[in-house]
Symmetry: none
DNA sequence: GACTAGTGCTAGCAAAAGCAAGCGCTCAGC
DNA sequence: GCTGAGCGCTTGCTTTTGCTAGCACTAGTC
C-alpha cells in the first residue's frame, strides 16, 4: 500500500499532514490549545505534529479529524495511510451512476454540490478582486467561510 | 470516527486484528517467518501481533496486508482505523478528491450521501419483508432494486 | 546418536509516540 | 506599573512500538 520508499513517503507525509492540519485549524479559526482540547490530544503534541516533528498514529489523526469536524479519511489520505483513488473525473456522473440512490436523492446531492461550487467560485472571485496581491490566502480561507454561512440542507429525499 | 470507547475498541481490535491476520496467514499456508519476511516485519513482532500483545501501526498493517496479498483497508477496518461506510467507497473518495470543495463541504456531502443510502437500505428491507407473495410488485415499488457494490470498500491492492 | 532446517516464541533494548509541567511572549483590564 | 488569560513552544518523562539475539521444540537426513 505504501507506494515507494516508506521513509521518504513518511517524511513527505509528515510535512504534508502537519501543514494540512494547521491550514484546517486556521481556517476554522481555532488555536492550538482549542483544537487540542476538542481533539483530546495534548497541545504541545499537536504543535509538534503541525511542525512535522512527530508522526501521529491513525488514532491521533482520527481524534484530530473529530476536532476539526472533517472525516478521518481526509487526514489518512494526506498522511499516506490511505491512497487517493483516481478514476472518477466527474463527480456528477458518479452520483448519477450510483444505483444505491433514488433519482431525487441524486438531484439533491447534485444541487448541493453545485451550490457549493458556485459559492466557492463567487468567494474566490470576490477575494481576488479585493486582495489581488494575496490570491493563495484568499483561496485557503474561502471554502470554510462559505460553509459556515450556508444553512445545512436536511436529507429529506424519498 | 472512533465510535465509542476508544480503549475498549482498541482492545477488541487488538484481539480481532491479530486473529484475522492469523486466519489469513493459515489460509495462505505460510509460517510466521515466511509472512514476516514477505511483509518486511520481524517475525517475533508478527507473532506478538497475532496474539494481541502489540498494537501495530497503520504502516505495519499495510506491510502485513502486502505480504498477505490483501488490501490494507481490510486490515484497517478490523483494526478500527477505518469505519465501514455506507454506499460506494469510490464515490466517497471522489468527493474527498474534489478540489473545488472545502473540507467541511466534503463532509456535508458525504454525510448526506450516506444517510440516503441508509434510508434506501431500510426501505429495501421493509419492502422485502412486506411483500413476499408479490415479488414483482415489490421490485417495482422500491426506489432501488439492486445495489451494485457491497457495503465493504473495494480492495485497494495494487 | 548428531546435525540441519524450520517452527513460534521470550527477553531485553533502542527509538518513537504522546503526555504533563512549565517557559517566554502578547494582550487586555485595572 | 501589575495581574490574569491566552498564545505556541521546550523539556523531560513514561509508555508503546518494533527490533535483534537467542531459546526450546519438531522433523528430516545421515
Amino acid at each position: 500500500m505504501i507506494a515507494d520508499g516508506p521513509k521518504e513517503q513518511a517524511k513527505r507525509a509528515g510535512a504534508t499532514i502537519g501543514e494540512f492540519i494547521r491550514e484546517q485549524r486556521e481556517q476554522a479559526e481555532v488555536s492550538v490549545r482549542q483544537l487540542a482540547r476538542l481533539a483530546g490530544v495534548s497541545n504541545p503534541y499537536l504543535s509538534q505534529i503541525e511542525r512535522g516533528l512527530r508522526k501521529p498514529s491513525a488514532e491521533i489523526l482520527a481524534q484530530i479529524a473529530k476536532g476539526l469536524r472533517i472525516s478521518a479519511e481526509q487526514l489518512y489520505l494526506r498522511a499516506g495511510i490511505l491512497e487517493f483513488r483516481d478514476g472518477d473525473p466527474e463527480l456528477v456522473s458518479a452520483i448519477l451512476a450510483d444505483e444505491g440512490l433514488g433519482e431525487r436523492q441524486k438531484q439533491v446531492l447534485i444541487d448541493i454540490y453545485e451550490s457549493f461550487h458556485r459559492e466557492n467560485a463567487q468567494l474566490l472571485a470576490a477575494a481576488e478582486s479585493e486582495a489581488p496581491e494575496t490570491p493563495a490566502a484568499a483561496v485557503d480561507s474561502s471554502p470554510v467561510t462559505t460553509h459556515r454561512n450556508q444553512p445545512h440542507p436536511t436529507p429529506a429525499g424519498k
